[in-house]
């Protein structure tokens, strides 16, 4: 697979997070010649928060993780992730495979099974060969010396580059670190690529606060991206605070801002590795009746096949944005609508702007990073989402046989 033209130049230098140790393995679940399992070991005192897919057909691992979120944080915890098989829509066998893996991790690591979180990503409908994975757990537990970069590589499926981001903040004179990894490469393609992200920090944050912060920030980052509007059965985002820095970051706005920057960076990298993507597009809607309506319009634009194909063709086809506003279901008034491409005023008050030229629009669209702003002119609601274009590459990747 060719690396996405939107990929960053290199994987960032991620800091080690005190209280976290990592291991990877080649279990051969589906892929040969590469790692496909990651094990994260977290010290006692680590609080764990998680946000999962809202799919009604979610995977067995998602159901299991959700049930374990409240488990006591004075115990150690572990996270086991495999790529190549999603263990979704596998009936009872799916739940049994998750239980078997959690028990195997408990046996190998001494972590209570109730504190073992798993995730699987890859083809759906096939039983997970959990024995292949379990066979590596003793060796992984004995040598937990992998880096976050190793982990980011192990969880990839059709991703064309590993995804990582980090930040640090100074709280009361002590440095607190945040580092995270993620995979794509549609949010969105449940049989090949499912969104997973794990973010770690050595800050100390109470379980409830951690969960609330994660849910809030998820809405502004991972829930604000879309590649193709299809929602995975396995989407998982987890945030683990080891507390090993000794710094309580509860309520720190600086920490929250740093965490947000890491999550946004990872979310943007997922879009930049969207299947077939050649353009990274920020879509902002302002002047909506409320923020919910603004999000509705922004996603209607970001998910419109006609808008996305126009962007792929570098066509400044603002009429399709008008269409997407109209179909969104949000309150809108045609005659108050304004549209901008970057700083170029394209439409004002329900018609093409007198100063707009097609040439200016066409030149703008040739850029790799685009910002499209739509003002509805009826309220103060606003929202920003990120997406990519819809190209022949997407069709080629997804119209192929699975085999």
């Amino acid at each position: 697979m060719t690396k996405s033209p939107l990929a960053p130049d290199q994987f960032p230098e991620l800091p080690a997070i005190a209280g976290l140790r990592l291991a990877t393995a080649q279990a051969g679940v589906k892929y040969a010649g590469r790692t496909d399992v990651m094990l994260a070991l977290l010290d006692p005192g680590t609080t764990v928060a998680g946000v999962f897919t809202k799919s009604a057909t979610c995977s067995a691992a998602v159901l299991d993780c959700r049930a374990k979120l409240g488990s006591p944080s004075d115990q150690p915890a572990a996270i086991l992730v495999n790529s190549g098989n999603a263990n979704a829509f596998t009936g009872n066998a799916g739940a049994k495979a998750v239980d078997a893996l959690c028990d195997a991790v408990a046996k190998a690591t001494g972590v209570d099974a109730n504190r073992v979180f798993t995730a699987s990503t890859g083809v759906i409908g096939e039983v997970l060969p959990h024995g292949k994975i379990a066979a590596h757990l003793d060796a992984m537990t004995a040598n937990p010396d992998a880096t976050l970069a190793d982990a980011a590589n192990a969880i990839m499926t059709t991703d064309t580059f590993p995804k990582g981001a980090h930040a640090s903040v100074d709280i009361d004179g002590t440095k607190v670190s945040i580092a995270g990894i993620a995979k794509g490469s549609g949010m969105i393609a449940p049989d090949m690529a499912t969104m997973l992200s794990y973010v770690f920090t050595d800050a100390k944050i109470a379980q409830n606060d951690l969960q609330n912060m994660l849910m809030d920030l998820c809405d502004q980052s991972f829930n604000a991206i879309t590649v193709d509007s299809d929602t995975s059965t396995s989407d998982t985002l987890m945030l683990c605070a080891t507390g090993a820095s000794g710094v309580d970051a509860t309520g720190s706005e600086e920490f929250q801002a740093a965490l947000k920057s890491v999550m946004l960076d990872l979310a943007h990298q997922i879009v930049k590795d969207g299947e077939g993507a050649t353009k990274f597009v920020e879509i902002t809607v302002t002047g909506a009746q409320d923020d919910n309506d603004a999000r509705k319009v922004a996603l209607s634009i970001a998910n419109s096949p006609l808008v996305k194909t126009a962007i792929a063709g570098e066509d400044p086809n603002w009429g399709r944005i008008v269409m997407a506003v109209g179909k969104s279901g949000a309150a809108a008034d045609r005659d108050r609508l304004s549209i901008r491409f970057g700083d170029i005023q394209v439409a004002s008050n329900g018609w093409v702007d007198p100063a707009y030229t097609e040439a200016a629009g066409a030149t703008y669209m040739t850029q790799q990073n685009l910002v499209i702003t739509t003002d509805l002119g009826i309220g103060t609601g606003s929202s920003t989402v990120w997406t990519c274009d819809l190209t022949h590459g997407y069709i080629t990747i997804n119209a192929d046989y699975r085999s």
Copy 2:
């Protein structure tokens, strides 16, 4: 433009509808060397019903038609349609163009302007050159001798074939005829192709009954198709009952069934001319909590880019159907879900069916007409929708510059 591989062998032999006369003209609004205007003249006594786009950014013609639906049916009526320019998102100038055209039709034909219905389809954001159209009205009025086939051709934009359908019923010994025309070719591409359909009958049906019947049947036909999930600013469906047969068809179930068959036929032809379409797909959902939920799931499957690209690739990727069920927002229970391709049981009770083979699924998917049935297993709600696949052809058509 190559004719769609799903096109019917030939345009059907449509009957003349008593009380209806037609004319077409080459006004050169955008297209050269072809007709681009249709005028329908309807005798006094004709009741007119209409269903229009729900877009919040709908065109000036849609707003005008909607306001005129209740106009007195003892007066004659007229319908004027142009292709090549949608007169949408054109601010005040758009409404003025509609008024000017209605006045011009009134002057040429003697029909009260309040009984003149217009529609425009084509590029959006450009002012309609209404004078070019008005210049042909006297000649059209003098020679209203065109056929419905002529009319079907005049309203095409990027359609690759004209669309027509008809039926007749015997009510109390008298034959009543129904004939309709439509254009696509996405429902859905507001700057190039917008759904328009006009159905005529010589039956006599009171205005309110006609409107209720049209709205009811529209939900089961035109509202049950999707090419790419994008909703036009100009979608218009009108049904005109001239009453010239002298037969009152109000309340006739036979008439309603015949009308439904005409509307379904036209709706299916629009899908079969969907941009880039190579497969015609019927998607049925049964066992849902209620019919609304069933429709939600059916459209979630029909609009999923991953389902549609899998169909394009003849890949029996039922996992993507599971995904689309899960994201639909409708009530679903993973472990009661069953899926069939035609008569092939693919999944039962939340897992792949023991008797299913990938080879059988792959063979089925090579067919041009596909039927995918999903049973949710939790209620009695059901719904059927129709769609096409998502191919390189769609990207090619829509990523091109407008020029």
